[in-house]
Point group: C2
Amino acid sequence: MRNLKIILAYDGADFSGWQVQPDRRTVQGTLAEALERLTGEQMLPQGSGRTDAGVHALAQVVSIALASPVPVPNFMLALNHLLPPAIRVLQIEEVPPEFHARTSAKAKTYRYRIFRGAVCPPFLARYVYHHPWPLDEQSMTAAAELVVGEHDFTSFAAVDPERVQRMAATEGNTSGPAGLPGNVRTIFSSAFCREGEELIYTVRGSGFLHHMVRNLMGTFLLVGKGTLAPCDVPRILAADSRSANPGATVPASGLYLVKVEY
Amino acid sequence: MRNLKIILAYDGADFSGWQVQPDRRTVQGTLAEALERLTGEQMLPQGSGRTDAGVHALAQVVSIALASPVPVPNFMLALNHLLPPAIRVLQIEEVPPEFHARTSAKAKTYRYRIFRGAVCPPFLARYVYHHPWPLDEQSMTAAAELVVGEHDFTSFAAVDPERVQRMAATEGNTSGPAGLPGNVRTIFSSAFCREGEELIYTVRGSGFLHHMVRNLMGTFLLVGKGTLAPCDVPRILAADSRSANPGATVPASGLYLVKVEY
């Protein structure tokens, strides 16, 4: 069998997320169908991680085991021809048999786009979170820096025990405290920047729990509004409990999987 | 009654065009519903012209006759709150009673975006026409210049006699030849430009027939491919017949109503 690494971009707005589900249009399911039409082989493409409904990807990484001898350049053209325009293959390469898109990943980068203008252009509505109300962006920047390092991120994870356990078992993470195994992640960088009318958060880490970026952003928004202070972030982190975190899970529309490193 | 001029932007991808139709999601119908919810008044907002399914607007102009005394700034905020994010009110102003969005229009500008790169980013797929194959852009530029001036554009109009007649009766146009009344329009400017990987056509004219911009573009694409020469364009114009024009009607996704002048 050949092992192929595929880099995909997708507009997640009209998909029920990455993971295949019965009777739902998902990115993984749509890709599997196109691969089967192209090669006659049934397979389940393995993503670097799941993205939820509405979340976008600039460079999701996928690995597939394939018998067909289709040359790589033709494979990419044919696959893009079969896929809907909302999913594009950007790159395909042959990789050693031990490569796996999820378990081989060393770091991931996510981005969250907040549109700050009074009226959000209709052409951006699917691709940002519109938040025109006042925000103290300096405090948000200070808060973002405080999550850098190795932490137990239980306070920022979806309360979804089964899934958390499952992800803990599959996402390569180092170690966890005895009480909460598997929720420790290392954040390498976490910062806001301004691009015109957009406030953009970029975070790079060893791995991410379910809803972690959207929950971090919900907390940073409370800091921006003055409901929380930056110094509340270490306190919330230390509580190891989602209920200790008053931040909401912000909408999926602003979130992008930007890069996966191996 | 007050007479209000509303400027709207919309992402046309998920609408069955401007004009209200039973059981279809249209921009005019969606706007009428929001206006009724807001004011309790039933009305049919008058657009500067119809846009077809999938066509976008950066600044469609709409006029409405209204009894409610809602102040203009509140009116805009409330309307944007009620409208879906794919439709945004950019501006509202009180205008004299004789103003009518369609019959008062003196000029309109449309734009057509062609993405020329090999792989079209999924985030652009709804907003451009993807044409990665070779095109002689210089010949297209030469062809575009040849439609400037006053011409009968029957060769570039949809073969839809009833609608052509109806539009002729409603779109203020000067005069037409005896055989084909109503299809004369004046094009003030018509030009291509390059913006990165996009080839962009911008056309400004006194008015446009149904499908006219998309049919002009279909003809210019045949010039770009070498099937036609620029000098075929005046010949096609002079034929006053859609069947004399081998150009296709290009997809709606690339078309934008950019500006309406009064």
